[in-house]
């Protein structure tokens, strides 16, 4: 069971509130996009779920287990992994070492080597450069490595924060294709921060819209895309004005 439940969660940085009473239910195997303008609290929501920032209010459950207050390394053991904004690759480690950092929590030791091979099949460039310093990879390659590194923890839920950030559109397509294939193969629950409703609609899934630290709308990504398209037609290029 890896149902994800967020109930009335608040996060603040000192006096700055980033999330206020956010609630959200995500089913096992679902694909959910978190969208919203800059500073809406998307990253803070992901960080709160995986324990990287403390919550000031509310509770978070993964598969019925209460996680708020647990350290990130304990939450990772519940099958939660995050691919952060900016990827946070270990630049001084080799590509393969990056993939191995998260394998310490796995009980199925035998499957580690075959999983690494599988990642090299999905991302051949990582296989070619397995002994290279990860800091020398391009942005797209680092994004693939960050996803592969998260997968190596053998997660049930994978959260990816803005996978498209700073990448060329064709690379973004490639990243999404792989994410969807991996989700199908492994029955992963996917939570993806994506600012573009058009892209989310193309990939397909539910969309949750955050603004000013609260959930303001929720529904099928396709509906959001249509609405944004209309807004664009009426008001010019910017579909989503800053909060």
């Amino acid at each position: 069971m890896s149902k994800l439940g967020v109930f009335d969660v608040s996060v603040r940085y000192g006096k700055v509130p980033a999330l206020t009473d956010v609630s959200l239910q995500i089913e096992e195997g679902e694909r959910v996009f978190i969208s919203g303008p800059n500073g809406a609290g998307k990253s803070s929501l992901l960080k709160a779920i995986c324990g990287a920032v403390p919550t000031t209010h509310g509770r978070i459950e993964i598969g019925g287990m209460l996680v708020a207050g647990r350290p990130p390394e304990a939450i990772a053991r519940l099958g939660m992994t995050m691919v952060p904004e900016g990827r946070d690759i270990f630049g001084t480690l080799t590509v393969e070492e990056n993939l191995r950092v998260g394998t310490g929590i796995r009980r199925d030791r035998d499957a580690i080597e075959s999983d690494i091979d599988e990642i090299y099949e999905n991302f051949p460039i990582l296989g070619e450069r397995r002994q290279a310093n990860a800091g020398a990879l391009s942005g797209g390659q680092q994004q693939m490595l960050a996803i592969g590194r998260g997968l190596m923890t053998n997660p049930k839920v994978m959260m990816v924060d803005e996978p498209s950030l700073g990448l060329a559109p064709n690379i973004v397509d490639q990243v999404y294709e792989t994410l969807i294939r991996l989700q199908k193969d492994r029955g992963l629950t996917l939570v993806i921060v994506e600012q573009s409703s058009a892209r989310a609609a193309r990939v397909g899934g539910r969309m949750v819209l955050l603004r000013g630290g609260t959930v303001v709308d929720e529904g099928d990504a396709a509906e959001f895309a249509e609405r944004d398209l209309l807004k664009e037609a009426y008001f010019g290029q910017s579909a989503e004005e800053p909060a």
Partner: protein
């Protein structure tokens, strides 16, 4: 006598001690951004653990009486133990504190250890004879060097290679390197903060014990101040090396060792008392040219 090989052995053995002490500091800085000024007192603690507690001027060996094969692992474990204990008692409660607050606590901890030793052993330096046979000269490529120098150089090599293997080949080593680069990310991947930090302190303490054994054998004294003196040089080495960089710490340790031996040999007699002033000028010049240190930590920024 051949002066050049002699200088070489002097430089390498002094550099080796500095390198080991600097490694002890760089390891801790790497995982928790703490410059642990108590490190020198770990060394002093290990030195005094060799002798019977008393304030007499001549030390009676206590742990130091044990055969080397027993003494070495015991003292390494003792060094590891005091370092781990200090993490548990002091630094664990300061994980969220600023680096400056942690550094000040490490000074305070150092004073506590130092004053406890003063209370038990008194302040006078004591003559102590651990493994005196090692100071007998042997003849190597035309130079007559104490056996200890050879052992120090070999020991440094063994320590550096062992540490490199541990960091490169083991699971905890990989976790320590990942945590040193980005602690939060490592934890998000399930790396246990407590395991990594305890491991780093244990290694650091064991290095302090190794330095203690070498210094005692070499100098033949147990002096409460010896920890502070080497701590200063080791700290400078970690800064020159690039704070947190382990290869940097080793390289800079050897560099400072070599520089001080060379200055000692070649400065005019009148200037020799001011050797350290020249040495630190050299340090300042390096830092002016490369403020980030010789081996600044790599950047994880993508090169798009």
């Amino acid at each position: 006598m051949n002066a050049i090989p002699q200088l070489f052995f002097d430089a390498m053995s002094l550099g080796g001690i500095y390198a080991m002490a600097a490694l002890g500091i760089a390891l801790i800085f790497g995982v928790m951004n703490l410059v642990n000024f108590a490190h020198g007192e770990y060394i002093a603690f290990c030195v005094f653990a060799l002798i019977v507690p008393s304030t007499d001027a001549v030390a009676v060996l206590f742990l130091g009486k044990a055969p080397a094969l027993l003494l070495i692992p015991i003292l390494l474990a003792l060094g590891a133990a005091i370092a781990v204990a200090s993490e548990f008692v002091v630094f664990r409660h300061m994980r969220k504190a600023t680096p400056v607050a942690m550094m000040i606590s490490s000074f305070a901890l150092g004073f506590v250890i130092q004053n406890s030793l003063l209370l038990i052993y008194g302040s006078r330096p004591k003559a102590i004879s651990l493994w005196p046979d090692l100071n007998k000269p042997v003849s190597v490529i035309g130079a007559s060097v104490p056996l200890l120098q050879i052992i120090v150089i070999l020991a440094t090599l063994v320590v550096v290679v062992a540490l490199a293997l541990l960091l490169k080949k083991t699971k905890i080593g990989l976790e320590m390197r990942a945590a040193a680069e980005n602690f939060t990310m490592a934890r998000l991947l399930g790396v246990r903060a407590n395991v990594v930090i305890t491991g780093a302190f244990a290694l650091s303490g064991a290095l302090a014990a190794a330095v203690a054994m070498i210094m005692v054998t070499q100098t033949g004294v147990a002096d409460i101040r010896m920890g502070g003196q080497i701590m200063l040089v080791a700290f400078i080495a970690t800064v020159i090396g690039g704070l947190g960089s382990l290869p940097g710490a080793v390289a800079a340790g050897f560099l400072i060792g070599a520089a001080s031996v060379i200055l000692q040999a070649f400065l005019p007699l009148d200037a020799r008392p001011f050797r350290d002033a020249f040495l630190y000028t050299f340090v300042i010049v390096i830092l002016l040219v490369r403020p980030q240190g010789l081996f600044a930590a790599h950047s994880a920024k993508p090169r798009v």
